[in-house]
Every structure is written in C-alpha cells, then in structure tokens.
Symmetry: C2
Subunit: 405 residues, 2 copies
C-alpha cells in the first residue's frame, strides 16, 4: 500500500477511535511520537496540580496531620485497590509500595513458605525473564533452601512438577512483547500443587488481566509503564485473598503490623493486603501515581486491548509497506493471543540497532533499544494514535534507507 493510502487509513482509524479523547489527558505534543510508554509512561496532565497540592498544602501546611487528615496512612491500600480494578482483583488484595524487585522478593519467599520445602524445593523462572526477577528469585531460593530452574515460558505448564514450589512468570516478555498464557499456566501450576507469581509489569494497563478469575496466587508489577505513574513509581503486590492469612512476609516492617502505633516489640501481622506493606509509604510518589490513575476512570480494558491490537497490527503493516524486505524482522508474535502491547523489531541488516534508535529519537520517534539488536516500540492505547504508528514506520524506513527521495 502507498504512503498516502496508509496515512488516510490512519486518519480514518483515529477518527473512529473511541479512546481518542483520552490523549488530551496527557502532556503530549505533535512534535514527538512517543512509543516508549512501555518503559516510562507519558505524564497525565492531572499529576502536576495534585503533586503541587501534596507538597505545598498537605506536607507544607498540614505537615504531620496529613498522615490522618489527608489519608496518607491508608494510601497504599487505596491506590492498590485502584490498580486492582485494572488487573482483575477485587478490593483488598493489592497494595502499592516499594519497587518491583522488592515485591518479587516478598511474593516468591511467601509463596515458598506456603509449601513444604522438604518435598518442594524448586523455583521455576521463565528463561527469558526480565533480569531482576531472576536475580531476586535466586536470592529468595538461596535464603529458603530452594533452587532456581530456568525454563522456557512455553514449557512452564509442563515442567511444573512435584518438586516445584513456585513458578515466577512475566506475563509479557519485556524484550519480544510475547504474551504468556496466564490462565493456562496458572491452572497447570495449581494442578501440579505449586504457586504462581505473575509479573505484570508489561501487562498492567496494557490489556485485561483477570487475577481473581484466573486463580493467580501472587502478582507484582510496576506502575510507571502503561499505568503512567512516573519514573520509579511505587510497584504493587497482589496476594490472593484465600492466601492472605498465611502470607508470611520476609519483610515484616512496622507498616504491616496489626497495630503499628502500639510500637510493640513482638510482631503481629495485620490482616489483608496491609500485610504486604513494609516501611513508611513513599507518599509523594504514591500520590503522583494516584493522580495518574485518574485517567483510567471509566476506561474499559477490553477497548484498550482492542485498540492495542489494532495499533500494533497497523504498525506492522506500515513497517512491511515502508521498510525494504530483510532490514528488520518482528520478534513479536503475530497471533493476537500471544502479543502484548509492543512491537519489537530485530535489526537484521544495516546499521547497528543502537544507532538506528538514536537517529529515530533525533527525528522525534521515541522507542528504545535492547541489546544486542532489538528496537522496541510500545503502543499505549490511551495516547497513541494510528497516525503515530504510521509516522513511526515511515521515519524508521527513512532512517534505515537514508532519507528517501
């Protein structure tokens, strides 16, 4: 198809897009095509005013009183429940705070502690995991007398067995954008008598997740990608309600105590999601995230998913139309059921991928590069337009060929 035809198609798709109005809620301009929301989500416009109020009034004027009067103390659960709605968790099971890595540690250790480690001493990790999950799983295993075995995600359901205590899986592969089968793997792991810990970093806010319905045991994820919570925004931890009474945290900080202000020498864990808390919550970051989550009010994740797939389909078509054969190949699955909300292109020939991305960014198309040869383009349905996808493919072709005539 010609450039003109694709541009026209993009315009038609944008005109028909039921989520199009959402873009105005973000601080974006037409000078840049931002396709790195899978690394750092764009700024929701409401955040600046909210954080100015949190700093100037809540901290500056009310000071210590804000722990009660501004609801600071309960923010981790309150924000957690807002995230919960986006990942299929009924209220009272998600708590926001700490980094993803710290939450992986809590979840994996707690999952191991739910099993009899005399008979089950194996932590399965998907072999292509984002590195921190693997490193932290290793530490969790070392500290509980278990061992880690890396297995291709496609084989996890089959490999979970009588020695398996926990299976830690990335819902979407950060490098390739491959979506793993959450319901299927969860059911198989459960049938094998083990627990699942799902890493939702690249799926929360990108597509519907049904933690409760699919029977996931634990989940963790970050909030600075598709949830637009800001750089290093607090992560979250989901503990299935049925397991909360037995959730035995390796980080039993005072915020998870049943009566924290009793300042008791002995630890008595709180009930519910609060048990996943550790130290004093990072209020500024947490309330920036809270404000960022306002963009989700009234948003249907099914519509988000439909647009995401349409965007990535369309981008792939544009790439195929514009980029000469053989210069890049997509490593993101074509099948919708196996695709997250990003497209990863391997630079098969021509200039090194890192240089390609640098030039793309110079020309206003912002994705990112993952060694050794992957160009990543994230499609955030709330603010990415079909016209952006078309332009990105066009600029990519320009960069790969040298400027076209």
């Amino acid at each position: 198809m010609s450039e003109a035809a694709l541009a026209e198609e993009a315009a038609a798709l944008d005109a028909a897009d039921g989520l199009a109005a959402k873009r105005a809620e973000f601080d974006l301009d037409d000078g840049c095509v931002y396709l790195d929301g899978n690394s750092l989500g764009a700024l929701p416009r409401g955040v600046a005013d909210r954080i100015a109020d949190v700093v100037g009034r809540e901290w500056g004027r009310l000071r210590i009183r804000s722990w009660e009067e501004s609801g600071w103390w309960t923010a981790p659960e309150r924000v957690g429940d807002r995230i919960g709605r986006l990942v299929g968790a009924a209220p009272g099971q998600v708590v926001a705070g700490d980094s993803t890595s710290v939450n992986v540690f809590k979840a994996v250790v707690a999952a191991i502690r739910l099993t009899d480690t005399a008979s089950r001493d194996e932590v399965l990790v998907d072999a292509a995991t984002f590195p921190t999950d693997g490193y932290i799983a290793q530490s969790a295993a070392r500290m509980t007398g278990c061992r880690v075995r890396a297995v291709d995600a496609a084989d996890l359901a089959r490999e979970a067995g009588p020695r398996t205590a926990v299976v830690l899986v990335n819902h979407v592969d950060y490098r390739t954008g491959r979506l793993h089968d959450l319901p299927g793997i969860t059911a198989a792991v459960r049938a094998a008598g083990a627990r699942t810990v799902w890493d939702l970093c690249h799926s929360a806010g990108a597509l519907p997740v049904h933690l409760d319905a699919d029977g996931a045991d634990f989940a963790i994820g970050c909030t600075y990608k598709y949830l637009n919570g800001g750089p290093g925004a607090p992560a979250f931890l989901y503990v299935r309600r049925a397991l909360q009474d037995r959730f035995d945290s390796p980080l039993p900080g005072w915020n998870s105590h049943a009566d924290p202000f009793a300042m008791a020498p002995a630890y008595t864990p709180a009930d519910g999601a609060v048990r996943g808390r550790v130290g004093t919550p990072e209020i500024l970051a947490l309330l920036a995230l809270d404000a960022a989550l306002d963009v989700w009010d009234g948003v249907d994740l099914a519509a988000v998913r439909a647009k995401s797939l349409a965007l990535t389909d369309f981008f792939l078509r544009c790439v195929e139309a514009y980029v000469p054969q053989g210069r890049v190949e997509s490593v993101t699955p074509e099948a919708h059921g196996e695709r997250g909300s990003q497209v990863s292109l391997r630079c098969a020939a021509g200039p090194p991928g890192g240089d390609v991305m640098t030039e793309l960014i110079r020309r206003g198309v912002v994705g990112d590069f993952r060694r050794p040869d992957i160009l990543r383009f994230g499609f955030t349905p709330l603010y990415t337009r079909f016209a952006d996808a078309e332009r990105a493919a066009r600029v990519l072709a320009d960069v790969l060929e040298g400027v076209r005539g």
Copy 2:
C-alpha cells in the same frame, strides 16, 4: 524564673543564633510551633519548584531521556553522597532509596554474611529499638539461621561476644531521645569480632555523626525527619568502603548489577555504593529529597548540635518554670552526651497524654504522642527558635492546669 524573663531570654538567644536565618528557607509561619520535625520535617521552600520542574519538564517533556539527560539514573548515589557528608561518610559509601525497613534487611543480612555463622549466630538488638528494626532483624535472623537477642542498649558493648554476628543499634532512642555511644559501642563490637548496623533515623541531620572515623560497618536511616525529605522520603544505606567488595545483598535487584542494561541472566554485582541499590529508583521522591538537602549547604553540624542542646536545655528550664511539679517528668537524659535532639515528657498525673497532645496541637503546638504516656517534642535546629521552645512550654502548662489566670 518568670514568664517575662524567660521570654526575654528566648529573644536574646534567638537574636544571637547563628542559624536563625535558616528558618526562612522553610515553609513555616508563626501560627504554629512545629516540634514534630523528628517525625516529619517541615517543607523546605525549594522543594515545590524543583518537583514542579521534575514533573513538568523532566518527566513531562523529556520523558525517557531524563534517565540520562536529567541524571535520574545516578540520583541514588548522588543524593547518597550528600547525605554522606551529614553523617561523616566520605563519598561513594551511601546510597539513597527504599524504606528504612528494607535497608535494615539489606544491612543485617549482609552483616551476617560477613561472618562465619557456624560460630556466630546471634544478632543483638537494643531492647528499646524502634519496632521495625526488631521485626526485620528477626526476619533476617530467621532466613540466615541466626537468632535475635534483645539487650539494653547500655549493655550492648559488654554483651557482644564470641557468638555475636551483628549488633543493630538505634543511635537515638525514638521514645526517650537517649543518644547511644556510637564510637564506644562500635569499638567494643568490633573488638568482639562482630559488625555494627547503626540506625541513624533520629540522628542524621540532628547532630554530628562520624561513621567513617568511628569505624561503623553499616548504617541506615530515614530522611524525612531532621533531613526534611518529605513524607516517606527514600531512606539510605551506608556500607563501609572496606566491606563493599564483600557486601552480599539479599535484594540483588537489577539496579545493583555491574551492567544493568546488558540484561544478563546471571547476576554480577556492581562495585561500590551502587551495590546497595535494588529496583528502579523512586525519582520523584528522591529529587524532592535532593532539593530538601539544599538547606544543608554550608551548614556546620557542630553548630546544629550546639543549638540543639541549647534548645532542649532551654525548653526543659521553661517546663520546670511553668509546669507545676509532678505533672510531667522528662525521660530524656540531662547529660548532653546522652541526649538526642528531642525532649520526651512522661505525663505523670492529670489527663491522659494522648488528650494532652491533642489539645496542644489544637492550640498550635505540634509534638506527638507515643503510647502509653509519652509526649515527644522534637527540636530541629534549622528552624526551631528559642521563642518556640518557650511558647511550647507555656502552652503545655496551660493545657495541664487548665488556662492559667
């Protein structure tokens, strides 16, 4: 002494105060005497503009580029070094991030791993510790085959013995304001062949600390009290340079990897303070803290300490002058060498302490209450005036007696 004489003395002390000008750098007004900076420091005026720029420009406009262009990626070490100057640590040994509780876990586990746990399996914790330290020490001990023994802080130097792996001490007792002997305990613990972990929550920014000179092994602390970093601001971790090569973190997140963007399946720890990092840094909170630390530029901690002691001395004199005998008793040591930067008064008779504090706050004197009967008043030398101390004592007397004639 009469009220008039004490008020006059306060005015003279304020007029002679070399730190008096610092108060203007904080968002404070004369309507309130804020004596809860030992729980949440007041807002430094520079924070609001800085955080507006971080949100609006660095995140909003530069987005992902800010990890490099705005120096986000190296903020934990950069901010860490600024804290380091205030606690006697040469550059390269302090990293900012995570909560205090999470850092206690890193430090205690790492300290245990530096010992031969076959012969040393004991973690000594001061018996009056802030609860989270004790809870987390218990978890660290449980996960490393050790046990925790609670010992009166005054006895720690003597009790550290051949079974002791680590001694975890609060530099200043959060309840009583008692300052423990960092050089003495550190030397004794070292002589016993064990390691120290110092909790500096109530001393960092309140008085001079000399971690390097005194030979401390590890230290942790929060930054939202005397360092005014904001509610739930990132904590910090100090690892003595000589131990950094052997620092074996139980939370080896990807940010502590020698080459994080290699995304390598195998963990290779970074050198130096970076090894204490875990996940993606909480940028908004970290840069609010960075801005808050500007108030320390050019400040001599010896002057801070001198004013702190003068303030607490003066407050105690005012309390003695105004409050009828027997209504409150100070549980904060009189000896300067044993006093932090707060005064804790036990309500010995009369209305319950919680009610007294509620009424104090209603009348514009903000301290806090710790069960069962302790009124805490924190004296932050950078912004507390002698006149504030006098007024606080006067209002306290009013509250305790009913309004005086």
